[in-house]
């Protein structure tokens, strides 16, 4: 069975600049896929190619087995929520939501009723007669969402829609968008540079960097089994250590900066191969004395940043700095300048080839 949304060999070249290089990706029907990456990584370009506002230099985009590459944006039946919402300032909320139905020739009375229902679904029952400028950012966001969904699009695209909202409203809207997306079962592509947003909302995350796809996997896989150094560094906090595999079968590697490190054995690695070892700071334990059964490193504490429930500790060995996250209670007895031990289990060490 073919995937619902399929991009094959999509590239975008502006003059001599390659913005997007041979992208292949798929999304299943009803799936919530997030494009994650720094700005300029190609995620928005990809979105705009799917929407039809940019023409791919090479490659093809298919929805439900049909190529849409030759279609104009208005023929594609794709709903988009833009970064700044793109609400029409000369139309009320209800007229904004009615607009796509109007364009599809739906009768006015029926269309406006449907628009009102949709506004109801996004929680704006009584605000249909307001103009966008009379609404808060969160409300405008909901109108934009209602407008993008009212015509039952084959695909919903969200282009960093939460960027303009403050933190609390953001979290509220994340939950709201998920709720509506599930209720309607619409296949959704969400673009963001915010990793926690990507983690909390997605069925699958596609990590972009420099116009290429670094990894496409579930949020948990992206976090715990990153396949490239970029993904490991971009998603979550990390300690990255260069090493060479010395015993592939037993899971042993030699790091110039930390000495011998055990890791969870990985069949794909061979002896003598250069790897990067990822150790998440929250998997590191802090203690005065070395702990049994773990890899121990002696450090001197440089900085402690207290967040209340937890704290970030940065310290250095003779050769490099390491960071670790500890519960707030554990940090009380440690002071900057103290010497202590960091330790972790072999299972916490993720080897990344290359």
């Amino acid at each position: 069975m073919t995937s619902y949304l399929r991009l094959t060999d999509v590239s975008k070249i502006y003059g001599t600049v390659t913005a997007l290089s041979k992208i292949d990706l798929t999304a299943e029907k009803g799936e919530f896929v997030t494009f994650l990456g720094p700005s300029g990584s190609g995620k928005t370009t990809t979105l705009m190619i799917v929407a039809g506002f940019e023409k791919a230099t090479t490659g093809d985009v298919m929805i439900d087995g049909r190529s849409i590459s030759a279609m104009a944006p208005h023929e594609r039946n794709i709903g988009i929520v833009f970064q700044n919402y793109g609400l029409f300032p000369h139309k009320t909320a209800r007229e904004n939501v009615y607009f796509p139905l109007q364009m599809r020739g739906q009768a006015k009375a029926q269309g406006l009723r449907k628009a009102a229902e949709m506004l109801d679904l996004v929680g704006l029952k009584d605000l249909g007669d307001r103009y966008p400028k009379e609404m808060s950012g969160g409300q405008q966001q909901r109108v934009a969402l209602a407008r993008a969904l009212v015509f039952e699009p084959s695909l919903l695209l969200l282009d960093e829609p939460l960027g303009a909202l403050d933190k609390n409203l953001r979290e509220q809207m994340q939950i709201e968008i998920k709720r509506i997306q599930r209720a309607l079962g619409v296949t959704t592509v969400f673009v963001t540079h915010d990793q926690s947003e990507a983690m909390s909302m997605s069925d699958r995350i596609v990590v972009f960097d420099k116009g290429r796809i670094e990894q496409a996997a579930t949020p948990l896989d992206i976090y715990h089994r990153p396949q490239t150094k970029f993904v490991a560094g971009f998603v979550g906090e990390s300690n990255l250590v260069e090493a060479t595999v010395t015993d592939a079968a037993a899971g042993k590697a030699d790091a110039a900066e930390l000495g011998q490190c055990d890791y969870k054995p990985d069949a794909a690695l061979k002896n003598g191969q250069a790897v990067t070892l990822l150790i998440r700071p929250e998997h590191i334990k802090l203690s005065r004395q070395p702990l049994e059964g773990r890899k121990n490193v002696r450090i001197k504490v440089d900085t402690i940043v207290n967040y209340g429930d937890n704290a970030l500790l940065m310290g250095h060995t003779e050769k490099r700095t390491l960071r670790c996250r500890v519960l707030g209670a554990d940090i009380v007895i440690i002071k900057e300048g103290d010497e202590c031990h960091l330790s972790w289990l072999p299972d916490a060490v993720v080897p990344i080839a290359g």
């Binding site: 104009a72 944006p73 039946n77 364009m103």
Partner: protein, 273 residues
């Protein structure tokens, strides 16, 4: 220091305002000369203005010419502005400069140019001739106002409309045009005023047949004969006053985009030269 500044300010304000106000009592004067304060008051010269074809015809000519100039200007400028603001192409910066060039040329120079040139086509002393000449002076002003509007136009709105199923033509009708309307109106208004106030070119080419109001006023002041000039001045001043005292209207039109004061300045500045 502060008191000195305030005194200077008051003098400056009086200097700016007093000459404007003085034309009002003059229009009610019963003197034949420029006597001020007037020896007595009556409405005779208002009656004279509204019944004298020598004044009404130039007024009517000016309205027709300004309207014609506005229509022609907008027909030429609207598509050009879209091309220059929305597209990148070779020669664009040259086109930008060419469009603004008429602003840099003193009107007396254009007047000399048109005087013999329009004569070759028999267009001197015709409405069409003056319209064709005035359009050249209105184009840059209309372009400045409209391009400022169009640059401020959020293109996401057009993309949104297209993603929602509107074809390019329907996007233009349902989204671009309504949102751009205030800018179009102001742009047209500036083109109209530019032509309505333009004097120098009109003096040289409008002749007797297409005589405009500013030309008639110029002749009238030069000959220092006709007190009706005070009436016309008061009426024109009243129009400006109405335009400024009714700012809510203008403000609502301008609120979405503010053409820089300098743009406005030059728009009327040049036709004053």
């Amino acid at each position: 220091m502060n008191r000195l500044l305030i005194t200077l300010g008051i003098i400056a304000v009086v200097f700016v305002v007093a000459p404007l106000v003085i034309v009002v009592p003059m229009s009610f004067s019963n003197a034949r000369s420029l006597q001020f304060p007037p020896p007595g008051y009556w409405f005779g010269y208002y009656h004279a203005y509204f019944t004298d074809m020598r004044w009404l015809r130039p007024t009517w000519n000016s309205i027709i010419i300004a309207a014609g100039t506005t229509v022609l200007t907008m027909i030429l400028v609207v598509p050009a502005t879209f091309a220059l603001v929305r597209h990148r192409f070779a020669g664009k910066s040259f086109a930008d400069v060419m469009l603004l060039m008429p602003l840099a040329v003193p009107h007396i120079v254009m007047a000399v140019g048109y005087y013999s040139y329009l004569g070759m086509f028999g267009l001197v002393q015709t409405h069409l001739g003056v319209i064709l000449a005035h359009t050249c002076l209105s184009v840059p002003i209309a372009f400045l106002v409209l391009s400022a509007n169009l640059k401020g136009f959020d293109r996401t709105l057009e993309r949104a409309a297209q993603s929602l199923g509107a074809s390019p033509v329907r996007t233009f009708i349902h989204v671009t045009l309504p949102i751009l309307k205030p800018g179009l109106i102001i742009s047209a208004l500036f083109a109209f005023i530019q032509s309505f106030d333009e004097t120098v070119v009109a003096i040289f080419i409008s002749g007797r047949n297409a005589e405009t109001l500013p030309r008639k006023m110029f002749d009238s002041i030069r000959q220092e004969a006709d007190p009706v000039i005070a009436v016309v001045s008061t009426l024109l001043f009243a129009l400006v006053l109405a335009g400024i005292v009714l700012p809510p209207l203008l403000k609502s039109l301008r609120s979405r985009v503010t053409p820089a004061p300098a743009a406005q300045a030059l728009s009327t500045a040049e036709n004053q030269s």
